[in-house]
């Protein structure tokens, strides 16, 4: 027959154990039964403590009439205000969320075939000169109700995601650092903005800014 000490020792190792010998001891021992009840209350608190809420990046908006309508309404409401001219706080978060949802984009080795790249860039009425670096991933993505080019450009510091956001105005260059990514949102006069980001493990913000300048210089806008 198991003694109190052995029972409680086993219970502290696994309070939810359905071991028959433990069950038999508990049934026969009121003291250990009370101890079990107390320990299970503690265990319940432990479970709740471990299940803390860590916010994950919000998913980027998927196309829907509601989302599009909401975007238009929002644009109308805030048009002409200073707030519109500045990058919204959530733009960087939305960019990160979009990239988080496409982990395969970092892995593609490329290079992307010219016709495919041209088709993707056509959405933003632009082309890219060779100076930007080798493009290893190119996709036309839905982002905040618009189709935007999502590229990954290879650099000496590692792969860089570039999203051309012609519909997202930015008043000034903004750095961000969240969810394992470092990046910048660069304003482009009359053409919205460009978001660039790298994995934090690959680069410092200075690397991202240098690459941003290079990519921006390599963009040729179509009329």
């Amino acid at each position: 027959m198991m003694d109190h000490e052995a029972y409680r020792r086993a219970l502290l190792a696994d309070p939810r154990s359905d071991d028959a010998e433990l069950g038999a001891h508990r049934a026969a021992c009121p003291e250990c039964n009370a101890y079990t009840e107390s320990l299970l209350r503690f265990e319940s608190r432990l479970e709740r403590a471990l299940k803390l809420n860590i916010p994950v990046p919000a998913r980027s908006l998927r196309p829907s009439r509601l989302a599009l309508a909401a975007s238009l309404l929002l644009a109308l409401v805030v048009a002409g205000t200073v707030w519109l001219a500045a990058p919204r706080a959530s733009l960087a978060a939305d960019v990160v969320a979009h990239v988080v949802d496409e982990p395969q984009s970092w892995i593609s080795q490329g290079p992307v075939a010219d016709p495919k790249l041209a088709a993707v860039l056509k959405d933003a009425h632009m082309r890219l000169r060779a100076g930007a670096g080798a493009v290893s991933y190119a996709s036309s993505c839905e982002f905040r109700g618009h189709i935007v080019p999502h590229l990954v450009v290879q650099s000496a510091a590692g792969p860089v995601t570039v999203m051309v956001l012609v519909h997202e105005a930015a008043a000034e260059q903004v750095q961000f650092d969240e969810h394992g990514y470092r990046g910048v949102i660069v304003p482009v006069a009359g053409r919205g903005s460009i978001a660039l980001l790298m994995r934090k493990s690959d680069a410092q913000i200075k690397d991202v800014e240098d690459i941003a300048a290079r990519v921006r210089a390599a963009i040729v806008w179509s009329p």
Partner: protein
């Protein structure tokens, strides 16, 4: 998860899998590292490694333990690479205060701070058991320990935790 589907479907399924598991994976990485920024980095890198290695996941039902193993390895790599300085637990708790806060129950915040104070070798099996629902045998396999060693660590983890939380430990067995 054999590639029985086209590229887009495969990608969509993998993304859905990542999306559904991410909250739990973040929690696990947080308790492992006790640092939210490190946890986010580790989970992100792990997702990339998982994507590369997805053909080794033969059964989607086993995705969670598969991801957890990748996270543990990635955390070990990160730890090696960054060589974190000696940990000041009180400073660590202060810096992660927003994550540990529990608006609904004050004693949960205290419990979380106490979990931070557990040694790594006790905290990890406890998290695997309580948060991830691992059995003793599964923890033993994941950590490369015997079943008896796992039970000893779990016993010590709760023993220390109860003392740290100011529980009445008069009836608890001693070491």
């Amino acid at each position: 998860m054999k590639d029985r589907f086209g590229g887009n479907q495969k990608r969509a399924r993998f993304q859905a899998l990542c999306q559904s598991l991410r909250p739990d994976l973040l929690r696990f990485a947080f308790w492992l590292s006790r640092n939210r920024a490190v946890a986010e980095d580790v989970v992100q890198e792990s997702m990339l490694r998982a994507w590369k290695a997805q053909d080794s996941l033969l059964d989607e039902a086993a995705a969670k333990p598969w991801f957890l193993t990748i996270i543990r390895r990635e955390f070990a790599r990160t730890f090696e690479r960054k060589r974190f300085p000696v940990v000041d637990i009180d400073q660590l708790i202060r810096s992660e205060e927003p994550s540990l806060a529990a608006a609904e129950e004050h004693d949960l915040a205290e419990m979380r701070a106490a979990i931070f104070k557990l040694p790594d070798e006790y905290r990890e099996p406890l998290v695997l058991q309580v948060l991830m629902g691992y059995s003793t045998a599964e923890i033993a396999r994941e950590l490369g320990l015997s079943g008896a060693a796992v039970l000893t660590r779990l016993f010590r983890a709760r023993n220390q935790l109860r003392a740290l939380c100011g529980e009445d430990t008069a009836q608890d067995p001693r070491e």
